[in-house]
Amino acid sequence: MTVSVIPVGPQHPVFLEPFQLKLVVEDEVVSEALPRFGYVHRGLEALVVSKDFRQMTRVAERICGICSAIHGMTYCRAIEKLLGITPPPRAQMLRLVWSELHRMHSHLLWLGLFAEAMGFESLFMQIFRIRETVMDILEQTTGNRVIISVNVIGGVRRDLDAEGADGIRRALKKVAGDLERIRPVLVDDYSVRKRTEEKGILAKERAYELGAVGPVLRASGISQDIRRTGYGAYGELDFEPVVESGGDCQARCKVRYRELFQSMDLIRSGLDRLSDGEIQTKSKEKPEGEILVRSEQPRGEVVYYIRADGSKHLQRLRIRTPTFANMAALMDLLPGLDLADVPLVTLSLDPCIACTER
């Protein structure tokens, strides 16, 4: 009996959400890692039998608080396709703005937690202070901070006036300035580099083999971003996916850090191109048929599969979340790590258990 067994979770200060990692370590080097899930499982895909397809929008938003807006948007897009309607351009663009704001709030949360996992309390506090600006925008424009519930089938629920748009622009300028100020600490500092460089390296080929998605995949040097498929209003805007080649924690950190600026660019140009018009296309139809829809969440590609038979209730709703795709990569990364790096590497994949377990 020369090994130690450490349960990380279900309740563990490092992780916000309950899931368990059984780590077998020797001298604090992980030799075996096994996950245990089910603590957040609600069975909400089965809720389609009791909630009608419009109500399910609200359920989809509550799959996960951090990806809420994009979950809602993806669900709405799927239903819209089944119904055969297209939201008006203004609604499409507003969806893009709020999605990207949500991505920012998610990435900033992640950066903060990442700093905290390194034990960098002051950096954590600074990042969260920056994040509050984004939260304020969300609250001012939608009325809520986390679950903004702007998406409805056929468009969006709220409009944005010129004053609101200016408010967003001003706030983003502030966020950009603040983010620039933490760059030397987050990216260049010796001690931070010591903790993040060459920790949990996911090689390019391995990332591809394991089916990693999102920033994890992009940090391993593969340029893949579902937004590039041009769904919604993304087709109107020109952008390149953020790619880093390191494949380690620092690369993943850099990808998310740079994506913050990318999101800000997208929001700005989105606001500039905001056309006038309706914000919702109404439809009284019931969905029918089968559909598969993909979106880029802050954590990567989310896939919605819906089958409907023309009744009020959907027949089937199936969601593949990005964290589920990245879990295989995590289990591949953990063995051989220092115990001290386990939280950091796990967080670097930005696991969202609420998404994964639904």
């Binding site: 309740q11 200060p13 309950p18 609600r42 909400l44 009791s50 359920v59 509550r62 994040r131 609420a354």
Partner: protein, 143 residues
Amino acid sequence: MGMMKHLMVRSRRRSLWMMHFCLGGCNGCSIEIMAALTPMYDLERFGILNTGNPKHTDVLLVGGSVNHRNRRTLKNLIDQIPAPRLIVAVGTCALTGGIFNEAYNIIGGANRVVDVDVYVPGCPPKPEAVIDGILSGLDKFEQ
């Protein structure tokens, strides 16, 4: 003696170490609890410290709805929190099971497992509401 007791009540009111445990929910409440610790809201100015260890905890913030697996976990955690303790249910899910109440795997709100002292409604409640919820439970320590 009276003075010591007075001081104890005062200390208990001013020093609350909290832990939050997220049950089955969308995680939004955890995010807002997290946000409550940070510069904009700064829970620590009320002496509220995030510990993440039930053995050091005075206030347990529960978010999310109870399912068959995390129920046992919640019980285990409560068992390790020394009295006097304050249990705050944060968010609609922890109050009633919320939107997921009809799901097959959901038992209901946190009160199905523990005696909840304070309920903070909202989906998710704002950090101010979380702070208000904790502080309004302080009278429990008067006894």
